[in-house]
Amino acid sequence: MTQETLSDWVRKLRAREISSRELTRLYLDRIERLDADLNSFVTVTAESALEQADAADARLAKGEEAPLLGVPVAQKDIFCTRGVRTACGSRMLDPFVSPYDATVVERMHAAGAVMLGKTNMDEFAMGSSNETSFYGPVRNPWDTARVPGGSSGGSAAAVGARLAPGATGTDTGGSIRQPAAFCGITGLKPTYGRVSRYGMIAFASSLDQGGPMAASAEDCGHMLNAMAGFDERDSTSLERPAEDFTAALDADLTGLRIGLPQEFFGEGLDDGIRAALDEAIRVLRERGAEIREVSLPNSHLSVPAYYVVAPAEASSNLSRFDGVRYGYRCEDPQDLLDLYTRSRGEGFGAEVKRRIMVGTHVLSAGYYDAYYLKAQKVRRVIADDFRRVFADVDLLLGPTTPELPFELGAKSADPVKMYLSDIYTIAANLAGLPAMSLPAGEVQGLPVGLQLIGNYFDEARMIGVAHQFQQETDWHARVPSAFA
């Protein structure tokens, strides 16, 4: 039963081969039995999940069709859920029971999805290892001594261990793709503006984008069909007609132009990952794709630009957490300043404080031009590199991460080293492009992620190509033995 993907469940539910209640029960049991080793869920909403499952069964019985009708999924704890604690991995929001649903949650509910619970994450999505969560680290189902990646590490580990057929994630600098790569699953960051940010707790507003995480590309297509769409409550939401992201699953790869950014294959890339990618490229070439080398000459500037832009936005976005209207408030504040500084000092963890301080510094008088304005200009230079390249190729392909999942604690002491985990993923966020990671091999028993970066709005094609690759390979279908 761990063999079935989300897409399989969609078909079986429609064919009434299984009820939503049975399926929900099945995953709730797995969570109960297996999550102690992973810590991937921070909240399990068993009772309401079963109620939602019954409602979905009633709709199925009436012959209703909705993209995810009856399918259990997990929500990253960054999405606000009405009546359910939404803590964002932070002590600051540990007491926060949201009075409203995020648009993504609302849409998935309307699409018939059943929420199993909320998944663990790096505090306020700031991290690449899931070690900054107030609720403790998440562990990688392939090797519990290793990290699952971050910040959507709970979602990735849960799907990797098949504790949920699909989960939502958010990606500001790689937070869907890097954990997807580390946990051997497929994850997609859509074009900026595809998925509403309303009710998705902001880290860096101009970079954040929600997206699906599941076993296969087809699964991601089904989930994205439910998640994406214009939202009048988000000014940055794209006004585009609804689209079927599974429309190009039968893509013919003949003549598809795939570019390999040479900068993604240079020094620093793990040899095992390089070999796995070579093999993947061979598979695609065999299917008729044209592979060519391209260059993104400014890509080395993406991590430094990101570590100015993202903390700057974050420092301001996190100012609302002040202990006044909701969330953590320190004991017995002496005066207003004490209320602010202690509530925030005690409510935020070290990495969040670090990034707030970086952001405050780069925006402060005398530093704005040297840091923030310069980073915004570099951002355009990076986006222009992509524009140029997409005149010649349809898709870009490279590694998702420079290295395999690392051990817990390996990088905690060195923030810059940790930041470089996202060296291949950040550029797509800066440019706002869609990108995905899919499993493409195994090295020392650990999964390897292959990254595709598409042109704006090209998710359907990207999903189609990934799906074709997954017809030829079975990396995405593998489950770590402890969870099989």
């Binding site: 009048e232 500037l301 006044v324 209207r325 300043l337 670090r354 200009k377 951002r379």
Partner: protein, 95 residues
């Protein structure tokens, strides 16, 4: 750029984060590394480039002027740390 504890204290204060000298010392190292790291931007060729605040070159959409939000004060204040008579309470603000 290297930052000293005094500078860390200054930005912690602007950020309203309680921070004693020991903590400031701990943060100073990591922050210095980060500021050194982002100084790579100094080498970028950005002559004449317009800053990019947003991934899409779109314009702000305008909402019709209409009241759409119901009064849900009780829901919103149920999760507040301190309220009285419908007001959020904070330690006395001296003006």
């Amino acid at each position: 750029m290297s930052v000293d504890t005094e500078h860390v204290q200054r930005i912690a204060e602007l950020s309203r984060l309680a921070m004693d000298d020991d903590q400031a010392r701990e943060f100073a190292g990591g922050l210095s590394d980060i500021f050194d790291f982002v100084e790579q931007l100094d080498g970028a060729d950005i002559e004449g480039v317009e800053p990019m605040a947003h991934p899409m070159d779109a314009a702000q959409r305008l909402r019709p002027d209409a009241v759409t939000e119901p009064d849900r004060r009780d829901d919103y204040q149920a999760i507040a740390p301190a309220v009285e008579g419908g007001l959020y309470l904070v330690p006395r603000v001296i003006e």
